[in-house]
């Protein structure tokens, strides 16, 4: 029997059912059956996530229907959960899932072909319309994933739907997993995905890759979706948990995948570099009680050296392309400058201030200005930083955010103006929606008083 051991020499025989030999044995009782189901479910889920982007991309191409492709994929998963505990986990779980899903896709088409012939006989279709046989196209995979990414991030979709659809179709996450990551109800994500699929159909979004004229803009949209997914994980916008690293990891994987598929655009490598370096601080930026730890106070020994190295390599690839530095490349360069400093006091703030000046020109925004003020404050003294903040006082975007008062508080504290600083921190505490950030700001105000 495959997947069991021969006692002759005590060594394992090559297992056909490598994943879990227990699943090939006949269940002795209900507990064993449940264990088999769990093993089968775990193997199916792992195999699925390994291949899901390719499988779904292939299914979307042959069906040209995101909803149908998603249904076929779900059916294949269900079939696996029914068959694997009984028949054993197949030698190649992913290939098994792919072939079941493809077979069902082909069945669907046969059925719809029958249906089409029926309609034709009734004389209701236009003559001369070509219907290429979709079953011929089952094994062409190149560019499929990229097309799927562009589809999921299409500008006709609302921003939250783009993220949900990308996580579902490209990362292979379930509705429940996405809902957990975003701290919302399953039904909310389910509706978002359903609505997104419907919108793609209603708006007649073409499945083809965008043409060259449209490509750059669409790529920017894709990068923005990935960046937002990362940020959702990096700093939760609401709730008690300050970080949800799972979304960071998914975004990082998406970015790397995109860089492999769109390697000639510097900004994509810049995005990878930025996310790798930001993610390298994951362990260091949360204290023992879940409170945020500011960059300068982080234990740099806890930064993930591997991710920093990857980030710097990606930044190198971006710079080697010799394109005008866009916002992701500049932000990555800033992050890399922080990463190079062994101690906070070694930070090359002058370089960072110059990079923020560059960023303010290429991608001006009030948020960039606030960060530029921080950098100028460190590079040229707190009063220089406060000067950068002055034009922002009446900015409508910043009015509702804690960012401006918290940075002003920090600069005022450094400038030796503790009373004004404490007031600014309390203003900031009143504005933030994040509980642990509020505690940090109140503590800083109290320390000055």
């Amino acid at each position: 029997m495959p997947g069991t051991t021969t006692p002759a020499d005590g060594r394992a025989t090559p297992a056909d059912g490598f994943a879990a030999s227990a699943a090939t044995a006949a269940p002795a009782d209900a507990t064993a059956a449940a264990a088999d189901l769990t093993a089968a479910a775990a193997a199916a889920a792992a195999a699925w996530r390994h291949e899901s982007a390719h499988v779904l991309a292939t299914l979307v191409r042959i069906t040209r229907d995101v909803d149908l492709a998603d249904d076929l994929a779900q059916e294949a998963m269900l079939a696996a959960l029914q068959q694997w505990p009984v028949e054993g986990i197949p030698a190649n779980p992913a290939a098994w899932l792919v072939s079941v899903a493809k077979r069902r896709a082909v069945d669907q088409f046969r059925r719809s072909a029958t249906h089409r012939r029926l309609v034709e006989r009734l004389g209701e279709t236009q003559p001369g319309v070509e219907h290429p046989d979709p079953t011929d196209q089952v094994d062409r995979v190149e560019d499929d994933v990229l097309r799927l990414v562009y589809l999921a991030c299409h500008p006709v979709l609302p921003a939250d739907a783009r993220a949900a659809l990308t996580l579902r179709l490209v990362c292979g996450l379930t509705t429940t997993e996405i809902a957990r990551a975003y701290l919302v109800k399953d039904a909310t994500i389910g509706q978002r995905i359903t609505r997104a699929k419907r919108l793609l159909v209603e708006q007649g979004v073409p499945f083809e890759l965008p043409d060259r004229a449209e490509r750059a803009e669409r790529l920017t949209d894709v990068m923005r979706v990935i960046y937002l997914i990362f940020n959702e994980g990096y700093t939760a916008t609401s709730g008690d948990a300050w970080m949800r690293p799972d979304l960071c990891l998914e975004a990082l994987r998406l970015a790397r995948m995109l860089a492999a598929m769109e390697p000639t655009t510097a900004e994509v490598h810049g995005l990878v570099a930025l996310l790798e370096i930001q993610a390298s601080r994951t362990a260091a930026r949360v204290g023992p009680d879940g409170e945020p730890v500011l960059l300068e106070d982080q234990d740099r020994a806890r930064w993930d050296g591997l991710l920093i190295e990857r980030g710097q390599a990606a930044l190198g690839r971006a710079e080697a392309l010799g394109q005008l530095a866009g916002p992701y490349v500049v932000q990555a360069a800033i992050a890399a400058t922080h990463a190079r400093a062994r101690r906070a006091e070694d930070t090359d703030w002058t370089r960072i201030a110059r990079l923020y000046n560059l960023l303010a020109r290429t991608a001006p925004s009030p948020i960039v200005e606030v960060n530029r003020a921080v950098a100028h404050g460190r590079a040229y003294g707190p009063e220089a930083g406060l000067a950068v903040l002055v034009p922002l006082e009446r900015d409508p975007v910043l009015a509702a955010s804690h960012l401006l008062p918290s940075v002003r508080g920090d600069l005022l504290a450094r400038a030796g103006r503790p009373v004004e600083a404490a007031a600014a921190f309390l203003d900031a505490a009143a504005l933030t929606r994040n509980e642990s950030e509020r505690r940090l700001l109140r503590r800083r105000a109290a320390e000055l008083g």
Partner: protein, 121 residues
């Protein structure tokens, strides 16, 4: 989370067939592209290895090969994946490639979690 994966086999197995080399390099290329592969490499035979042993009398330096070694690590990979199931699935795929492209090959793939940066707490 990160895992160290060892490929272990007896050293007298000979050279891998080109089909396996092709299939492995394709799989490894894909894993590097999606970021799940951190580092991979083959290891020179035990005859070129050295052990520094700490014993009662102090340190001794012993050159390989070692009499007791049967299956030894001949290659390794460091992978960065979402969870243990995914690590196992990666290892299983490597095992399956060996089985498909090198039917005479016998060996094992060991999957060890690397302690460190993502440990809870």
């Amino acid at each position: 989370m990160r895992f160290m994966v060892f490929i272990k086999f007896t050293e007298d197995v000979g050279d891998p067939p080109p089909e396996l080399v092709d299939a492995m390099s394709k799989a490894i290329g894909g894993a590097f592209a999606d970021g799940s592969m951190v580092l991979t490499g083959g290891l020179y035979p035990l005859s070129e290895s050295t052990e520094i042993r700490v014993e009662q009398d102090g340190l001794t330096v012993v050159d390989g090969p070692y009499a007791e070694a049967k299956e030894v690590a001949g290659g390794f990979a460091i992978i960065d994946v979402r969870d243990p199931d995914e690590a196992l699935e990666s290892a299983r795929q490597v095992a399956q490639l060996h089985r498909d492209h090198w039917p005479a090959w016998r060996g094992a793939i060991e999957v060890r979690r690397i302690a460190g940066h993502d440990d809870p707490g």
